[in-house]
Symmetry: C2
Amino acid sequence: MLHQCNMDKSLGKHVILELYGCDAKLIDSETLVHEVLLQAAKIANATVISSTFHQFSPQGVSGMIIIEESHFSIHTWPEHGYAAIDMFTCGDILDNDSAIEYVKEKFKATSIYMADMRRGIIDGDANLVLNELHHKVSYTSK
Amino acid sequence: MLHQCNMDKSLGKHVILELYGCDAKLIDSETLVHEVLLQAAKIANATVISSTFHQFSPQGVSGMIIIEESHFSIHTWPEHGYAAIDMFTCGDILDNDSAIEYVKEKFKATSIYMADMRRGIIDGDANLVLNELHHKVSYTSK
């Protein structure tokens, strides 16, 4: 299928999430982290193509999902109750907000710091604009 | 093996790269893009754990590599000569600069826009600091 990237301001939208206060046991389970991230992709209305996850010893999980609209990734540090999640998507149909709420709830995160970046900025004629990487940051807490 | 993350200021370093002016044919080859990204990870002294790549139709490639030190990812838009690359790493031994030079040369990029973010900021006692996401941006051109 076509790499779906029809946003009017950029080719991709990259949401960078810092999840704090997560339940250490939950984010140290490769099985659970894999399930949650796959479900988050589905909740965002993304189409999953493939995924690969890894359990570290003594702790920590890394995982990546290629979706038709780009990717979701996660790295966890259970010893800090911290998870780094990236949602790189394109197309206007994706619902990242619902996916973010879902992972926050599933990992029992107490707060999230978020940066929202535009990747591949394009102008009104769909021509790539060089030398720009727009972003904004926000912070939410339960 | 242990998730290697012994930086003194953050758990992870996230380099966000916008490559412009790439050779469309080169970045539309799943085989070549996969080879280049794997080699870039090796040049950075990363330890590759697993990878998954996908060829889109009519064009474009997405790929992700889990490394012991986190991940490398790429999404290409050959029609724009554009590639979005992320290098999320931890540990002080990685040589991202050499990896960046390598991909720039291999894809014949004419310019790169780069953002360098710290993920999971920690203080001097290795305690996580909430509500921060330090970053700086830079731009290089051949």
